[in-house]
């Protein structure tokens, strides 16, 4: 198991080919980031426009290494009780009840308050112990003996406080629980951490400092064509080239939301379903809503469809 993991991560090329076999086409930067993350034990902060495969990368890496991918989806209001751990209150309450009933037995023979308290101390304190601990994603990731891939998704959606909560985890791979102490990850198999951000707000410098920073931009035509090929192999080469060219052209327009890779893939699937052999303006118009998600964008593009389609057809 461990050998296998190291093998996959031994060089940048092996990472690239490993990911490719899982239909994730990476570029050199992406592979380098994964490589460094593993060699330096550093988390990777992935930024980029939505739909370029940030989350997918973490999942693919987990898949490649055959490790569990523990995912923590961030949102406003996320706090430690949902991210790190929570006490099992019900059981704790029951425990106190039980304790109350057996109190007489424990204190048997004790005279005076001091002695009773001493006796109580002797009695092990399990109220705050791992027995009553409900681990949440972060803690779970640390406790995973075989190592795992921890995906902290859309970290920019969480609150500032939560970011500071992550710092200990990210720099030292440990978490402190006040009642119990510090829990550390298996030093030989630290979790591989990926954070993704959509840049809705600036991530704090403290967090950034601890991470490798990977920016995934929109892919160029070649890479995108490869990705479409990997994801939707049914698309004939000619159509693939056309639709990739079309999308690439579309990205140069002034749009509210430019189509990402995921939209390209969706579109490719749509075109296959419609048995399209080659792009034509009408077909494009009908399926525009797959790649553009705002009515005003669709209206802007509709006028240009003929021109764009011609361009895409000519590009062969």
């Amino acid at each position: 198991m461990s050998l296998e993991r190291d093998e996959h991560l031994s060089s940048i090329e092996s990472i690239q080919s490993g990911l490719e076999s899982l239909n994730y086409i990476s570029n050199l930067q992406i592979a380098t980031a994964v490589f460094l993350a593993y060699r330096l034990d550093k988390p990777v902060l992935i930024e980029g426009p939505p739909g370029v495969g940030k989350t997918e990368l973490a999942k693919s890496v987990a898949n490649m290494l055959e490790l569990e991918c523990i995912r923590l989806q961030c949102y406003e209001g996320l706090d430690e009780s949902k991210a790190i751990y929570e006490w099992k209150y019900g059981k704790q309450l029951l425990y106190t009840q039980v304790l109350k009933e057996t109190l007489g037995e424990i204190l048997e023979g004790a005279t005076g308050l001091t002695e009773s308290v001493a006796k109580l101390h002797e009695f092990g304190d399990v109220f705050f112990s791992e027995e009553f601990l409900e681990p949440r994603p972060l803690l779970k990731a640390l406790k995973e003996e075989k190592g795992c891939v921890l995906l902290i998704d859309e970290v920019d959606k969480s609150d500032h406080e939560f970011e500071s909560l992550l710092l200990e985890m990210l720099s030292d791979y440990q978490l402190s629980i006040p009642e119990i102490g510090t829990i550390k990850a298996n030093p030989k198999r630290k979790p591989l951490v990926f954070l993704t951000s959509n840049n809705t707000r600036e991530i704090s410098d403290a967090l950034k400092r601890r991470c490798l920073h990977l920016y995934i931009p929109f892919p160029d035509a070649d890479l995108e064509s490869q990705i479409v090929h990997a994801r939707v192999p049914e698309v004939p080469a000619e159509l693939r080239r056309q639709l990739v060219t079309f999308i690439q052209e579309l990205r140069t327009l002034d749009l509210k939301k430019v189509p990402a890779i995921s939209e390209t893939i969706d579109w490719a699937k749509t075109l296959i379903l419609l048995h399209t052999e080659s792009l034509d303006a009408d077909m494009v118009k009908q399926t525009l809503n797959v790649i553009l998600k705002f009515q005003e964008d669709i209206e802007t593009v509709e006028g240009e469809v003929q021109m764009l389609t011609n361009k895409a057809l000519k590009a062969q």
């Binding site: 460094l36 930024e47 706090d79 209150y89 707000r201 400092r209 920016y215």
Partner: protein, 485 residues
């Protein structure tokens, strides 16, 4: 290499990529893993560790290309240096003089061109040409171009070319680097050879001379690049520092663009500092865990409830700006500042007046600053200042909207042309609003001279400040955020 990396980090910092020492250390560890051989890998690694947002990545890109600029050497020579080096030595041993053809033979772009031509035609004669004795001469004629570049970089470091500040220093540094590389010995040798009678010596002298002139061009080029790398940003910083302190009314129009940039930068800083302010709010989900722990001390009886939801408290700001001639520039920048802060203070209402008060909130929100400012000036800018009228207008139109969360900022010199100051309205504001801040661009000593009414207004404000430069503005806004949040 570590020194080079540190230098590079320094360059990045001057280019406003924030690189912490810890990140530099990380980069060093990372480089131990990936090595220096593969340029692309090297660059990707550094980019990942040192630049942490898209803008920084862009800056990083250009800095990297400028800093590690062996492009005129590398592409042509990369293979040549690695695999012809041993070969090089062989030849040197075999026939010293033959080596003079080598710089050209290695196909170095600019430098070796003519050396090559002459080298080949005189191949036979070279046999009787002596080899140069000075270190630099040997390097010029025999060493590879990358050796030369390395030597140049070393010399550059020795004379601290990265300290270059203004472009007039270019000549000085070129000279210094040449000296450091051993120009003097070379010169002496050339003179000596020229005085010699032997044909071989003469030819060598000519060759050395040509090589020296080429070298000078290269060094000049190198210094130029260093200048762009180090001084350009440095100069910009100096200018910014200066602009921050200069009186806003003295700013010239051509500086406005720079100032605007600075304002945005300052605003961004303030946003990142203050956007974190939140306070717990008594509503929403019950925080069972906190409640349990808190109430443990009361024997588990729940009477101190804790709530989960937090509420972000955004300040409400009303900003009243005097836009009459003397103060308009200050108002411009205050408004610029406030609107750059839209992210953390979304509820800014702004008013402009010289005599009559008018709300310009929508104007500033919808059009860009220049247009909005121009329109404001046109609509409200003329007429003599009348603070009394302004205050009356304010009371009539929006005193009702003032509540205990509102901060009112008044920017003006309080010169009322001897009219009725109506200070009681300011008093009313004082009682209703959370804070009333008066910003006055004039120095404190002038606050009571002539028709200035600060004496009557000041006691009715929570805070009065002199405010006539960007630094002042920043301080005021920062304070504002601290108190209101």
């Amino acid at each position: 290499m570590e020194k080079t990396l540190v230098d590079f980090v320094k360059v990045l910092r001057t280019a406003e990529v924030k690189v912490s020492p810890a990140e530099t250390l990380d980069a060093m560890t990372a480089l131990k893993v990936v090595g220096y051989e593969d340029r692309v890998l090297f660059k990707n690694t550094l980019s990942m560790l040192l630049s942490k947002n898209p803008e920084e990545k862009e800056t990083f890109e250009s800095c990297f290309e400028k800093f590690f600029t062996f492009d005129d050497v590398m592409p042509a020579n990369e293979d040549a240096t690695s695999d012809s080096e041993p070969d090089d030595q062989f030849e040197d041993e075999r026939s010293d003089s033959n080596a003079s053809g080598q710089p050209g033979g290695k196909g170095s772009g600019q430098g070796g061109g003519q050396g090559n031509a002459s080298g080949e035609s005189t191949e036979e004669d070279d046999q009787d040409m002596p080899s140069p004795t000075s270190a630099l001469g040997q390097l010029l004629l025999q060493g590879s171009r990358s050796d030369l570049m390395i030597k140049m970089a070393e010399a550059g470091r020795a004379v601290e070319v990265n300290q270059i500040v203004v472009f007039t220093q270019k000549g000085l540094y070129t000279r210094k680097i040449m000296d450091q590389m051993g120009l003097k010995a070379l010169q002496d040798e050339i003179t000596e050879l020229q005085n010699d009678t032997g044909a071989g010596e003469r030819r060598l002298a000519g060759k050395l001379k040509r090589a020296r002139d080429q070298l000078r061009d290269q060094v000049r080029d190198y210094v130029e690049k260093q200048f762009f790398l180090h001084a350009d940003e440095h100069g910009k910083q100096l200018r910014e520092e200066l602009l921050k302190k200069v009186k806003l009314s003295n700013l010239e129009k051509r500086n406005f663009k720079d100032v605007q940039e600075i304002v945005f930068k300052m605003a961004k800083k303030l946003v990142s500092i203050h956007s974190k302010r939140r306070k717990t709010y008594k509503r929403g989900h019950l925080d069972l865990r906190k409640t349990l722990r808190k109430n443990m001390q009361y024997d588990g009886v729940f009477f101190d409830l804790k709530w989960k939801a937090v509420k972000v408290d955004r300040p409400k700001v009303m900003c009243i700006c005097d836009v009459s001639g003397s103060v308009s520039n200050y108002s411009r920048f205050l408004l610029m500042f406030l609107y750059s802060l839209a992210e953390i203070i979304p509820k800014v209402r702004s008013f402009a007046f010289s005599s009559d008060l008018g709300e310009v909130t929508q104007l500033f929100r919808n059009s860009n600053l220049e247009d909005a400012m121009a329109k404001t000036m046109r609509d409200y800018g003329n007429g003599s200042t009348d603070y009394g009228q302004m205050l009356l207008d304010f009371r009539r139109t929006c005193m009702d909207d003032v509540d205990n969360k509102t901060t009112i900022i008044i920017l003006g010199d309080a010169r009322n042309n001897y009219g009725d100051p109506k200070a009681e309205i300011v008093r009313e504001m004082y009682e209703k609003a959370k804070r009333v801040i008066w910003l006055n661009p004039e120095p404190r000593s002038n606050w009571q001279v002539g028709d200035a009414e600060m004496k009557k207004y000041a006691p009715n404000c929570h805070q009065t400040e002199v405010c006539n430069s960007l630094t002042h503005l920043e301080r005021v806004v920062s304070n504002l955020l601290k108190f209101t949040a």
